[in-house]
């Protein structure tokens, strides 16, 4: 079921040692990208060694969502946190390819692959 547009972009955060996994839900577009960025930056403030952003339940993302992730990547690099994106739908993956950011981000197919 598609989450309501007013639902929190971060559905849950799980920790395994110093690895944080953030499960994201719903479309990340102009109406939700600011909140999405804010929530992920708050997570970065907890200084994880690795941050995995699980996009399995994100059917759609626009350039504002990509811009939020670029901001998060910049902050993660400064903090020494490894950022990994997992679970991209074909449409979200296509957006990263079109903007040539698929070579900038660490992208993996599954959460298990990223955490192992």
């Amino acid at each position: 079921m598609t989450p309501s547009p007013s639902a929190s972009p971060v559905r849950e955060v799980r920790w395994a040692g110093r690895t944080a996994v953030a499960a994201i839900q719903g479309d990340i577009d102009l109406s939700r990208s600011v909140e999405f960025q804010h929530q992920i930056l708050l997570l970065l403030d907890q200084h994880p060694q690795r941050l995995v952003v699980n996009l399995t339940d994100v059917p759609y993302m626009d350039s504002s969502g990509v811009a939020s992730l670029v901001k998060v990547l910049s902050r993660a690099r400064k903090a020494g946190t490894t950022l990994t994106l997992v679970g991209m739908s074909p449409r979200v993956k296509s957006l990263f390819q079109i903007t040539r950011l698929d070579n900038v981000f660490q992208i993996m197919a599954t959460e298990e692959e990223a955490v192992s």
Binding site: P5, L30, S31, Y60, A67, K71, P90, S94, I98, T99
Partner: protein, 151 residues
């Protein structure tokens, strides 16, 4: 079904981000009815969404109560050959010479919308609208993916 979708669909929305998912849903159904493959559908939706986002952010400077008119017009007489999307706003006219995509090698937030639209659509034209504002016309040919494959 195909016969019915030869007629244009017109949507009038307000410049609120809350209306964007509604336009995306309508566009998805239209594209599927015309016969675009899933990859092309995704690119068309993304392009229209980026155009509307630009209007909200730049032409209307974030105001959420200004009008935007959208026309989705299937192309082709006997058989459908594509889709034309016209988006009209009533805000500050955008000088086309100032609309360009940024260098993708410059990794920073923002400025990707125009690159996305030019990459995903076959035609893209901005022109001043009668009475103020801007009309953006975008065309996607149903055969364009095959053309890309050949080149």
């Amino acid at each position: 079904m195909k016969q019915d979708c030869k007629k244009p669909v017109r949507l009038s929305i307000l410049s609120t981000p809350a209306h964007l998912p509604i336009v995306r849903a309508a566009l998805e159904k239209m594209c599927e009815a015309i016969g675009f493959d899933p990859e092309a559908v995704g690119k068309i939706i993304l392009s229209a969404d980026e155009a509307l986002t630009n209007i909200i952010k730049h032409a209307y400077r974030g105001a959420d109560d200004r009008p935007i008119d959208i026309e989705l017009a299937p192309l082709g007489e006997e058989s459908l050959r594509g889709l034309r999307i016209c988006i009209r706003d009533y805000g500050e006219h955008v000088d086309p010479s100032r609309i360009r995509s940024r260098d993708l090698g410059d990794i920073r937030p923002g400025g990707l919308g125009v690159h996305i639209m030019t990459h995903c659509m076959d035609e893209l034209e901005y022109r001043p609208a009668d009475g103020g504002g801007t009309v953006l016309t975008m065309v996607k040919d149903i055969q364009s993916r095959r053309k890309e494959t050949r080149t």
